[in-house]
C-alpha cells in the first residue's frame, strides 16, 4: 500500500536533474501511475523509477554529446603547451614589458588581461575548430551561429577565471608568499617565479629533475628561467599540468554542451 503522495525529494530530483525535454511529461506519468493504486506502486517503486530515469537520461546525454566531450578533453590536453608558447612569444617580443613598469593596479591589470586574452584566443580557436565541421556536416553552418558559440564562451571564461582567482593558494601548495591569483595555475607565472617560489612547487621540481623534460637556467639577476618544451607539456600529467587544463576543459565543455543543446532543440522544432 502506498501513501497518497510520492516522495517530494524524488520529484524535485526528477524535475531538475533529468536532462532533455522529457522531465515534465515523465514526472506527470510517474505521478499518475503512483496515484493509480496499482499493485507494487510504492514509494520504493517511485524512487527506483526516478533514479533510473536520471541515470538513463544522463547516460544518453553523454552519448549524444560524446564528440563534444572528447574534443574538449583533447583540446584541453594541449593547453599547457599553448601557455608555454604564449610565454615564449611574450618573453621574446616583450609584448607587455611597458605596461609592467606602471603602478598598481595597471601592471596587474595588463598582466591578467594579456593572460586572459591568450586564454580566450585558445578557447575560441577550439570552439571554431569543433563547430565549423560540426555545423557544416549538419548543413547549418552560418556566421551567426559561430558568433553565438564564441560569445557563449565569454561568461563561462569569466566565471571560471573568477573561481580560479578565488581559489585558495593552499590548494595548490603551501607557499604563503604568493597571492592567490589566476597566474598561480598558469605557466606564465611558473616561468617568472624566483628560485624560492619554484622550490615550493614540489611536483613541478620533480618533473624538472627526474624526467629531464625541462631545464632550469639561472640568469644573471638571480632568477630562474624555466624552459619547457611544448611537446612535453602535452604529455605532462602532474598536478600542476592537470590543474592548468581544468579551466580550459570546463570552458570548452560548457560552451560546446550549450551549443549542441540549442542545435538539437532547434532541429526538433524544425521537425515539429
Amino acid at each position: 500500500m502506498s501513501s497518497a503522495e510520492p516522495p517530494s525529494i524524488a520529484t524535485w530530483m526528477l524535475e531538475h536533474w533529468t536532462p532533455g525535454t522529457r522531465s515534465d511529461a515523465l514526472a506527470g506519468d510517474l505521478l499518475e501511475e503512483f496515484r493509480s493504486g496499482r499493485t507494487g506502486r510504492t514509494r520504493a517503486w517511485y524512487w527506483r523509477q526516478v533514479l533510473a530515469a536520471i541515470a538513463i537520461g544522463c547516460f544518453h546525454e553523454i552519448l549524444d554529446r560524446g564528440a563534444a566531450l572528447l574534443f574538449a578533453i583533447l583540446w584541453a590536453s594541449i593547453a599547457p603547451a599553448w601557455l608555454l608558447i604564449v610565454v615564449a612569444v611574450e618573453q621574446r617580443f616583450n609584448l607587455i614589458a611597458g605596461s609592467r613598469q606602471m603602478d598598481f593596479p595597471w601592471s596587474t591589470a595588463s598582466d591578467t588581461g594579456f593572460l586572459l586574452g591568450a586564454n580566450l584566443l585558445f578557447i575560441w580557436a577550439g570552439i571554431l575548430l569543433y563547430l565549423i565541421p560540426h555545423l557544416w556536416f549538419r548543413r547549418s553552418l552560418s556566421v551567426r551561429l559561430l558568433a553565438r558559440g564564441v560569445m557563449a564562451s565569454i561568461p563561462v571564461v569569466v566565471a571560471v577565471s573568477a573561481a580560479l582567482i578565488l581559489l585558495p593558494m593552499q590548494f595548490l601548495h603551501n607557499d604563503t608568499t604568493l597571492h592567490p591569483t589566476f597566474e598561480s595555475v598558469s605557466a606564465h607565472a611558473i616561468a617568472r617565479m624566483n628560485p624560492n617560489d619554484i622550490r615550493q612547487l614540489h611536483p613541478w621540481r620533480k618533473t624538472v629533475e627526474q624526467h629531464g623534460k625541462s631545464t632550469m637556467n639561472q640568469s644573471g639577476d638571480g632568477t630562474f628561467n624555466v624552459i619547457v618544451r611544448p611537446g612535453n607539456a602535452i604529455t605532462d600529467m602532474h598536478k600542476w599540468a592537470l590543474l592548468t587544463r581544468l579551466p580550459f576543459l570546463l570552458c570548452e565543455l560548457f560552451t560546446l554542451w550549450g551549443i549542441t543543446s540549442r542545435l538539437r532543440k532547434r532541429s526538433a522544432e524544425t521537425r515539429a
Binding site: T11, T18, G20, R22, D24, A25, L26, A27, G28, D29, L30, L31, E32, E33, R35, S36, G40, W45, R48, Q49, A52, A53, I54, A55, I56, G57, H60, A268, R271, A272
Partner: protein
C-alpha cells in the same frame, strides 16, 4: 516493441499506457525513463512524432505527451515485419540442416 505499442494504443498513446502495454506483454516491470529515452530516439529518427496534451490535476498539473507513429515509422514497422517473417520462415530449414549435420 515500443512502435507496436504506440500503433496499438492509437490516440491514447502516452507514457503510462505505453508502459502498461509493455509490462503486459513482457510480463515484468519497465522503467518509464527508458521508455521515454527510446521514444526520444525514435522521434529523432522521425519514426514517431509527439504533441503535448492539456495539463490535468491528477498528474500534478503536468501535461501528457502523446506519441503517434509517422508514415516513415509505419513503413519501418512493415519492413521489419517482412524481414522477421522471412527469417522465421528460414529458421526451420536451418534446424533441419543442423539435425542432418549431426
Amino acid at each position: 516493441m515500443i512502435l507496436l505499442a504506440v500503433i496499438r494504443l492509437g490516440e491514447e498513446a502516452y507514457g503510462v499506457p505505453i508502459c502498461r502495454e509493455l509490462e503486459t506483454y513482457r510480463g515484468r516491470d519497465v522503467s518509464v525513463g527508458s521508455v521515454y529515452a527510446a521514444l526520444e530516439r525514435l522521434e529523432a529518427k522521425g519514426l514517431v512524432s509527439s504533441s503535448l496534451g492539456d495539463p490535468t490535476p491528477e498528474r500534478g498539473g503536468k501535461a501528457k505527451r502523446y506519441f503517434r507513429v509517422t508514415s516513415t515509422g509505419l513503413r519501418q514497422v512493415h519492413e521489419t515485419r517482412r524481414v522477421l517473417s522471412k527469417l522465421w520462415h528460414a529458421l526451420p530449414e536451418l534446424k533441419e540442416n543442423a539435425h542432418e549435420q549431426r
